[in-house]
Symmetry: C2
Subunit: 419 residues, 2 copies
Amino acid sequence: MGLQDEIITICRQAKTASRKLALVSTEDKNRVLEYMSGALVKNSLYLIKENQIDLATAKNKKYASASIDRLALTEERIQKMAKSLSEVARLNDPVEEVIKSWTRPNGLIISKVRVPIGVIGIIYESRPDVTSDCIGLCLKSGNAVILKGGSEAINSNLAIYKVLHDCLRQGQIPAGVFHLITSVDRKSVGILLRQDKFIDLIIPRGGEGLIKEVARKSLVPVIKHYKGICHIYVDSEADLNMAHRVCFNAKVQRPGVCNAMETLLVHRDVAIRFLPAMIRDYQKAGVEIRGCPRTRKIVKGIKPATEKDWSTEYLDLVLSIRVVENLDEAIEHINKYGSQHSDSIITDDEKNAQRFLKEVDSACVYVNASTRFTDGYQFGLGAEMGISTDKLHCRGPMALEELTTYKYEIKGQGQIREE
Amino acid sequence: MGLQDEIITICRQAKTASRKLALVSTEDKNRVLEYMSGALVKNSLYLIKENQIDLATAKNKKYASASIDRLALTEERIQKMAKSLSEVARLNDPVEEVIKSWTRPNGLIISKVRVPIGVIGIIYESRPDVTSDCIGLCLKSGNAVILKGGSEAINSNLAIYKVLHDCLRQGQIPAGVFHLITSVDRKSVGILLRQDKFIDLIIPRGGEGLIKEVARKSLVPVIKHYKGICHIYVDSEADLNMAHRVCFNAKVQRPGVCNAMETLLVHRDVAIRFLPAMIRDYQKAGVEIRGCPRTRKIVKGIKPATEKDWSTEYLDLVLSIRVVENLDEAIEHINKYGSQHSDSIITDDEKNAQRFLKEVDSACVYVNASTRFTDGYQFGLGAEMGISTDKLHCRGPMALEELTTYKYEIKGQGQIREE
């Protein structure tokens, strides 16, 4: 059987299984999730052994140490994956929720009911924990899932997949609900992206290159979890102590994640008071500053920010700073250079706050808080697939509810249409 | 300026204007919509004159009479377009609705607020009334719109566009909120579909060929309003009088629309009692029947249905009929051959009804009612863009609410993330 036929067979099985999974009870899904959680821990030696094969190859190929770190499975990481699955078991099941229900004058009762999306394809890079996270979220939301991980993690992914797949028989869940594409042929991704007859949604998880390639090639709808070029704007009416605290947190607390701040915008009226102490503290924390000409006038010895800096996601202890004329210029900067992820204003002026909330076109807009809160858990939504920077279907944290769609169930007593 | 630069300029203007339009008050939008409605009627002679040019060309090119009919603007059709705009003015404005709001333990107040999508591209065929319908719906939902109609309707579309565009100054609405691509170069569609930096959503409106082409080429997310292969399944537990009435309505009342029935499925236990009278009445109404072998045994002289019939949207007085073993076979048939649009079961058995509602994977699933109710007005949602057969973002009628997305507005008092 050729690669294409093989993948189509998998897709067809997933579609059939997804229709059965949509009917499985919450209890059955939760029991399996809890069982999976235990199975990961129980099999951690096996998982680590298989992971060693991938690590050895990666080292032979002289991968960067950051890549090798992302690839590595440790006891602690396996514990974390297991805990995630238990947590997903404890989240509310979104399936079957009646979103709205109403009766028409002709007596038709219309209910808008939450249902699983169907079959979700996940295309990801080297992190093997994505395998168990995605299986857990898709299972709980009633979706079949087809996983295509990076070839560098193939042994780790296959081991996790096998351990979790063995748990399905603990509930009345058909075996076809999840699949791992094991072919390392690069063509397999292209084939998968053309299966719009069977796959309802593709989620790419990884770097910019992967996401762009998937979006360009896919006939299946894609939800992109794109980069986070997040801003904080310190307004002329800001409480500068609060601004200092929040801006420090947004950059320094965990710089390698998408909701960390990459560019700080400061109103010209407070720049001289605000920036010197702020920059001093950043530098003490090891942050490299790249400033606009005005910033560099206020604090000497700072690297200049280039045009490219304004649209760069550093994911590191680097920060670009720009002094702006006013709120308008701040909003314009964010809408031009940002990635519609998370942006915050620090201000005590209610009118400025409202304008920022309304006019900044991003998934999450904040007043007087760190951008670091853009996260399923922090929002109280639980585990998530990522942060959608798209505008269709879902925006911001993509949690269980966002892994569902709806259908209209309409009950009549023989109504016909006349007109 | 080349075609590509021209289209990119238009897209950029639309993006900028969309951000301003998102802030325009409901009152301003409604005033402009009412004014537009009046302007269409006032300018009907001009519209008809421009339409004559298109009609003359179409007749010269020997277009089919159905195409020429779709293209024609009459006083009556212009009245209808005007009435639609007034109706949209009277619908609730979905923008700024707080969908949900909650406070986190750390004091952050999170609100999920409905906002416009941004810039919507509409690619359509010959019907010029689509021009005003789309402008009305997009304006009310706060979206900028870029229209690309069929070249055969270019003069009509341009005339409607000019009349409506002139009304914008009646409200504080920027001129860039709607655009009509006037180039008849086929390349313009391809260029438009690559502008994912500026356009947030593409909606193709037209036949299967157009929709497939757009979906294949687009880098921008597409919502497809695909064909409607709608079924009614007459269960063994059906009230056969009701079934007769509903099945007649779903096929005959208006066969040329997407929510009309194309295939009738009948449980074998009631086929002999149900089909003879049903088929007699269909034939009296001019319906051509194509039957499965069992149907043709029960009623003589019927054309055989081929495999292709089960997946054909006739949009005409043609119906395929199949006798099935049981509910399972009916559900399987619908999920295999249907288009996930609208399907109905006629039954008095609550358990069978529930199974049908849950297991048929379609946007609208009915019990004891005609499929013809799948429609924005019939659902009480008002005017719509069409019926989405996709599963992401929206399913079924795409009305004003479905032309919006959301953002999270988060208010804090200086919260930072610690862990």
